[in-house]
């Protein structure tokens, strides 16, 4: 049951659901969570092939990906706070301009 194909199915399903979320939703929080989901799917794929080839380099790459996701979370969430305070909305269509003044 734990075969390469089923693991590839789970990780590709997570990646595609994340991509569909980025395409279809307009709530900026859900878009951010979809990006996290795509990173999760890629991590699962890397770990699967680390076990398959009995090689530990993909696990190290996964640690790097998790560190980059943490850095991304810090920047992205502080930008979301600033945008929500200035525009009072979570709609991505409102954020088409990133200028501070009202134009």
């Amino acid at each position: 049951m734990i075969s390469l194909t089923s693991l590839a199915f789970v990780s590709m399903a997570l990646f595609s659901i994340g991509a569909i979320g980025v395409i279809s939703r307009r709530n900026i929080f859900v878009i951010y969570m979809s990006l996290e989901m795509m990173l999760n799917g890629i991590n699962l794929f890397l770990i699967t092939f680390a076990r398959y080839h009995f090689n530990m380099d993909p696990q190290v790459i996964t640690i790097m990906v998790i560190a980059i996701a943490a850095a991304e979370a810090a920047i992205f969430l502080s930008i979301i706070i600033l945008l929500f305070r200035s525009k009072k909305s979570l709609d991505t269509d409102v954020f088409t301009t990133l200028t501070q003044g009202e134009k």
Binding site: I2, F9, V10, V30, E36, A50, M56, M64, I66, A70
Partner: protein, 175 residues
């Protein structure tokens, strides 16, 4: 036993991801992502990656998603702040139509590989010691670059979060 665990964990992870894109309230979406991340951590443990199992729970579920939930509660989002998504399901169907051929392609390519036994082993594969040796021997430059990236992210979030009273006052005087 491991097969049953894998089946349940994969159902939970895909179900959490589906809950993320289907619910309208971002709080329910965040809880779905939390379930999905924890089940992916369980699959990591089934694949002999015990250190990454702990890193996934501590960093992803414990730090990133908790920060996310904290900010969702801090912003106090009401119903009228949420964007209206009239053709959400149409776009989800369109995205599925685009993504399913890619999935079929990748899964067919993976199915052609020779099958191996992927069950748990008793070796120290994936423990913290061997991973540390690989990290500091083969990936030292990448490790240093990631540490600089984390420092830049720290400084950037402090710059974004500091109060900008001066500029606001100047703008008030101009207008």
């Amino acid at each position: 036993m491991a097969d049953l665990l894998f089946l349940g964990l994969s159902f939970l992870s895909i179900g959490g991801a589906l809950a993320m894109i289907l619910y309208r309230d971002p709080m329910y979406s965040a809880l779905g992502v939390l379930i999905s991340i924890l089940s992916v951590a369980g699959i990591f443990a089934l694949l002999n990656a015990s250190f990454l199992f702990m890193v996934q729970i501590i960093v992803y579920a414990g730090a990133i998603m908790t920060l996310m939930l904290f900010i969702l509660m801090y912003l106090n989002i009401r119903e009228e702040d949420l964007p209206k998504e009239p053709n959400k399901f149409k776009l989800i169907t369109l995205g599925a139509v685009v993504m399913i051929p890619l999935n079929v392609l990748v899964i067919q390519a993976v199915a052609k590989l020779p099958s191996k036994d992927l069950s748990l082993t008793n070796t120290d594969f994936g423990d913290i010691g061997p991973i540390g040796l690989v990290l500091y021997n083969n990936w030292l430059v990448a490790f240093e670059l990631v540490s600089i990236l984390l420092l830049v992210a720290l400084i950037g979030s402090i710059v974004l979060a500091k109060k900008r009273t001066k500029r606001v006052k100047q703008e008030g005087e101009v207008s």
